[in-house]
């Protein structure tokens, strides 16, 4: 089995991707606040939910990437 090397470049890319997910989760929170007419301080109080949602989005994207990678790998053979 080969050693896997996670480069600093890869880590930066993943971090950026998660930051994008975090921004999306925040947008979802803002939209929920507007839709359900709840107080704006939920931007801060719901940060736990926002982080969780960002991780869910990140995980979904990761699944899509793995699927894409598997397909790519299969057809290249």
């Amino acid at each position: 089995m080969k050693d896997s090397v996670i480069t600093a470049e890869m880590k930066r890319r993943e971090l950026k991707l998660w930051l994008v997910c975090f921004v999306i989760a925040n947008v979802v929170n803002w939209c929920s606040i507007i839709k359900f007419a709840t107080p704006w301080y939920e931007i801060f109080t719901q940060v736990g939910y926002v982080v969780s949602l960002s991780l869910v989005i990140y995980a979904l994207i990761a699944l899509a990437r793995i699927a894409w990678w598997l397909l790519h790998y299969t057809f290249r053979k």
């Binding site: 979802v28 929170n29 939209c31 929920s32 606040i33 839709k35 359900f36 939910y49 949602l53």
Partner: protein, 434 residues
């Protein structure tokens, strides 16, 4: 005693947050009021030392302000039981002899219902202050006579309606009067048991003496034994008296086993001037629902027995994010619906209610003797206090009077199969408890 001091005393009684001016009769229960009569002693005579009499004795032995000097019962085993607690007390088998005893200041009457009025009247005439068990009397006329005679003689008279002294009822009523459950729109009372309501009889000729509850010659059955406690709830909550009463009673089960003639199943409806109904139902051959007393308002319900408050208002919905996630969940999980479930009862009963106070003592209603922490002890203390001060507390007697009158009226309605109103001649001045 100033207001601040009283409030702190209320806290010690488990009545924190209760407003004194609303419940003036409770003042005597406060440690402060007790202090004011410290060292004083009331010489008490007890007439009727059966189960309830003994229950009171067990409280009295803990009260330094009570000295039981005389005991009376015409059934020797009961008298001997009581005498064990007070070996020094004089013993009587005729209550008239006890009333002649000048040493006795106050009497506690715990005999069968048909004896309440004659004994109370005789005791007041003999110059004694009186605590008589509920119900106040066996007939509407007798109750009125007792009420008027007390007024004329200026005696202290307490009736054994202990809910007025039970902290959870007091707290609940204050919340109701403050509008916590909105406008009162209904009052539900029920008392279910599954037992024959009999006491063991050592020999057949004692049947009617021991099981007096079961015979209409001595008792009005479930209405005077149980309902009269609960009928207070409507008047206390709404500050008015019922306008009309209807009811149905029957003997459906226990009469197969004995010769009782009081109903073992009753349902009664009391309608108030504002149209609100109060119900009372009792069945003693099924105990699934136990004892229940609920005040129903437009914004919620207070269960007096469990001291729980249930709101009808929609629960707070949670944050926007929360609601958004719930909406997605509902979208994913729900089946497609073609029409609303119109048959489903709308109910807030499953919502988790909130206790109205801490350390609530819930009474099951199963015992026919009485339960600890149901206000009985405080009621007795208030009586002793009133004997010492010579002051009849406000409003309590009128509440007991009307509880008895409406219990009797409902029993009459059941027997006459009629809708009845309380005759003007039975109306005494009534000041609401709110």
């Amino acid at each position: 005693m100033n207001r601040k001091e009283f409030l702190s005393d209320c806290g010690k009684m488990g009545l924190a947050g209760v407003t004194l001016s609303l419940f003036p009769w409770l003042e005597s229960c406060s440690p402060k009021a007790k202090l004011a009569v410290q060292g004083e002693k009331v010489r008490i005579g007890i007439i009727g030392t059966g189960s309830r009499g003994l229950f009171h004795i067990k409280h009295l032995v803990q009260m330094p302000q009570a000295e039981v000097v005389a005991l009376c019962d015409n059934y020797r085993p009961h008298l001997d039981n009581a005498a064990q607690y007070y070996p020094e007390a004089k013993l009587y088998d005729d209550y008239r002899r006890l009333l002649e005893n000048r040493d006795v200041q106050g009497v506690i009457i715990a005999t069968p219902l048909y004896l309440h009025a004659p004994m109370t009247l005789a005791a007041m005439e003999a110059g004694k202050e009186v605590f008589c068990e509920k119900s106040m009397a066996y007939t509407l006329d007798e109750a009125l006579e007792v009420y008027n005679r007390r007024k004329a003689l200026g005696r202290v008279l307490f009736i054994g309606q202990q809910r007025l002294f039970d902290p959870k009822y007091v707290k609940a009523m204050q919340m109701i009067h403050e509008g916590v459950i909105g406008e009162v729109v209904g009052v539900r009372n029920y008392w279910y048991r599954n037992n024959n309501w009999r006491r063991e009889v050592p020999s057949p000729e004692l049947e009617r003496h021991i099981n007096w509850r079961l015979y209409s010659e001595y008792s009005r059955g479930l209405m005077t034994e149980l309902a009269c406690h609960q009928l207070q709830n409507g008047s206390w909550a709404m500050g008015q008296l019922p306008e009309k009463v209807m009811g149905a009673g029957s003997l459906i089960h226990w009469n197969k086993e004995d010769k009782r003639d009081v109903y073992d199943t009753v349902s009664a409806i009391f309608t108030y001037p504002n149209g609100v109904n109060m119900t009372f139902e009792s069945i003693i051959s099924n105990k699934h629902f136990g004892m229940g007393e609920q005040i129903l308002g437009t914004k919620g319900t207070i269960d007096l027995v469990t001291a729980m408050h249930y709101t009808d208002e929609p629960a707070p919905k949670g944050s926007g994010m929360h609601q958004f996630i719930e909406q997605i969940e509902r979208g994913v999980m729900s089946n497609s619906v073609f029409a609303g479930t119109s048959w489903a009862a709308e109910s807030s009963a499953l919502a988790p209610g909130k206790p109205i106070m801490q350390d609530v003592k819930v009474v099951s209603g199963e015992s026919s003797v009485g339960a600890e922490a149901d206000g009985s002890k405080e009621l007795l203390e208030a009586f002793l206090h009133a004997v010492i001060t010579g002051k009849q507390p406000e409003k309590v007697l009128e509440e007991s009077y009307y509880a008895t009158q409406f219990a009797l009226l409902a029993d009459k309605a059941m027997h006459e199969n009629a809708i009845l109103t309380l005759d003007e001649k039975y109306k005494v001045p009534y000041e609401p408890l709110k």
